[in-house]
């Protein structure tokens, strides 16, 4: 297709440009900044810079338009990426917060076990709440431990803050806990340090308010005092299911009616029954004591 001369010429042109380029590189790197090529380059830049500047200014709208388009496309991608990252961070945050809540609740068990007056001789079994009653009264929860873990009916259940309820049904791997806010619940308790005894009952429909009923008027009870389980023993074979000394709540208000024989004490429960994830079942509670309080 081409004669030898053409081919030679073509190769010569290529070789010439390659040699020229290599020579430029060699000289440019070898010479000082005051060398010929550097001076030539600076001169060229001085000549070209106004043109570049003018072109840059003149074509700014075009650049902005293209940039806007690119930015929009990038922003869309960035938006998707950030959404993904937000989702990941939310999951991480949720996991962290869950772990933190778990730690707080579990450390609460250690604290409550060290508290003065807390019943000794129990063998707490820690369990996770796996289901909750869907009713507004939050009357019962289900645990992931059962009879195979040593749980039995009527054993007391506590959270890291205080009394939660008692076991009312067990299977091999699960247990149902009736909370102290359930309408069927009643717990013998006393106000400390006054020592006034009474029965803790729920105020149905308001899980944040428990009532200590049947408290004799003679007892001097003030707001802020602590209510704990009394764990009384009335006679052989008749004793409370709950051991003495488990915190129940704090006195909020006292109703003293002239007509009533007893006074009613309103209690703010310690246990956050709506938000508990872990509980402990006091499995060493004295077996065989099913006499009365709390009623089932």
């Amino acid at each position: 297709m081409y004669d030898r001369k053409t081919i030679r010429r073509r190769r010569a042109v290529l070789a010439g440009f390659v040699v020229a380029s290599v020579a430029l590189i060699t000289v440019w790197f070898g010479e000082p900044v005051t060398g010929t090529l550097h001076v030539l380059q600076r001169g060229a830049q001085e000549v070209l810079s106004p043109i570049q500047s003018g072109a840059s200014r003149a074509l700014k709208p075009l650049r902005d338009t293209i940039g806007w388009t690119g930015d929009t496309l990038s922003a869309k991608g960035e938006n998707d990426r950030l959404r993904g990252e937000l989702g990941r961070l939310r999951r991480e945050l949720a996991a962290t917060q869950t772990a933190r809540r778990d730690v707080e609740q579990l450390s609460g068990f250690a604290e409550i076990a060290r508290a003065d007056g807390f019943p000794q001789g129990t063998a707490p079994v820690t369990a996770r709440v796996i289901a909750r009653s869907p009713t507004v009264w939050w009357s019962s929860v289900q645990l992931n431990k059962g009879s195979s873990d040593g749980l039995e009916v009527d054993q007391p259940v506590i959270t890291g803050d205080g009394l939660a309820g008692k076991v009312t049904a067990v299977t091999g791997g699960t247990a149902t806990v009736t909370l102290i806010t359930d309408e069927r619940s009643s717990v013998s308790a006393q106000v400390m340090p006054a020592g006034a005894d009474g029965i803790v009952r729920p105020k149905v429909g308001d899980p944040n308010d428990l009532l200590l009923d049947f408290v004799e008027k003679g007892g001097r009870i003030k707001s802020g005092q602590t209510v704990v389980t009394s764990g009384f023993t009335a006679s052989p074979g008749l004793e409370s299911l709950f051991p003495r000394g488990v915190p129940v709540g704090r006195v909020k208000k006292v109703d003293r009616s002239e007509l009533d024989i007893y006074q009613t004490v309103h209690i703010d429960p310690f246990a956050e029954l709506k938000r508990m994830d872990f509980v402990q079942v006091l499995t060493a509670a004295r077996p065989g004591a099913r006499a009365e309080v709390p009623s089932q």
């Binding site: 042109v13 440009f17 390659v18 380059q41 074509l59 940039g67």
Partner: protein, 194 residues
């Protein structure tokens, strides 16, 4: 080899315009995290239309202008673009280049060739550059963007140099039909004695 004044003027202005547009506008626009590079595309278009010698000449000139304008080490871009121009020109001389979508592949290959060649030269000059994932991503984005710009850019270059390009290069080549001009392709770049 003689270059007519009109051909030289058109090609020179085209190369100068491409370099100025690149450094003043295109290099400042980021699309999807990458930047297009018009220069190897324009050089490739000129080479495809004009042949290997015209391509090498356009590549050397564009590289020299780029290095001068940007204060880069002189000769590096020239060497890389000379190779790109010559290679694309030879491809155009040996193959049928009339397919409508060929500019896309040529632009992508020219950009890749320029990036790789310039990277290799940079490494050989030992100026402390390193290949990172970011560099590779930028190269890939430049290739993709240049491929996207190939058709309008090739059309523009063809329009500018049409009056000085041999007619045979702008039309589909029939089997057995040789080009009317020499391998240079530009009318002003006639081979003496032919």
């Amino acid at each position: 080899m003689m270059l007519s004044g009109q051909a030289a003027l058109r090609v020179g202005l085209l190369v100068l315009g491409a370099v100025l547009l690149q450094v003043s506008v295109v290099a400042q626009v980021t699309i999807l995290g990458g930047r297009a590079n018009l220069i190897p595309v324009v050089v490739a278009a000129l080479a495809l239309l004009g042949g290997s010698m015209a391509g090498a000449t356009a590549g050397f000139a564009a590289g020299l202008l780029l290095d001068l304008a940007m204060g880069m080490s002189l000769g590096g871009s020239s060497l890389a673009l000379t190779g790109v121009g010559y290679g694309v020109g030879r491809f155009g001389e040996l193959r049928d280049v009339s397919h409508g979508l060929l500019p896309i592949a040529v632009a992508a290959a020219a950009t890749a060739g320029y990036d790789v060649a310039y990277g290799a030269i940079t490494f050989m000059l030992d100026i402390g550059a390193s290949i990172s994932a970011l560099v590779l991503r930028d190269m890939l984005m430049a290739i993709l963007l240049n491929a996207a710009l190939a058709l309008p850019l090739f059309a523009l270059v063809r329009r500018v140099v049409r009056p000085v390009v041999a007619a045979g290069r702008l039309e589909p080549r029939r089997p057995g039909r040789t080009l009317e001009s020499g391998p240079i392709g530009l009318r002003g770049l006639d081979v003496s004695g032919r």
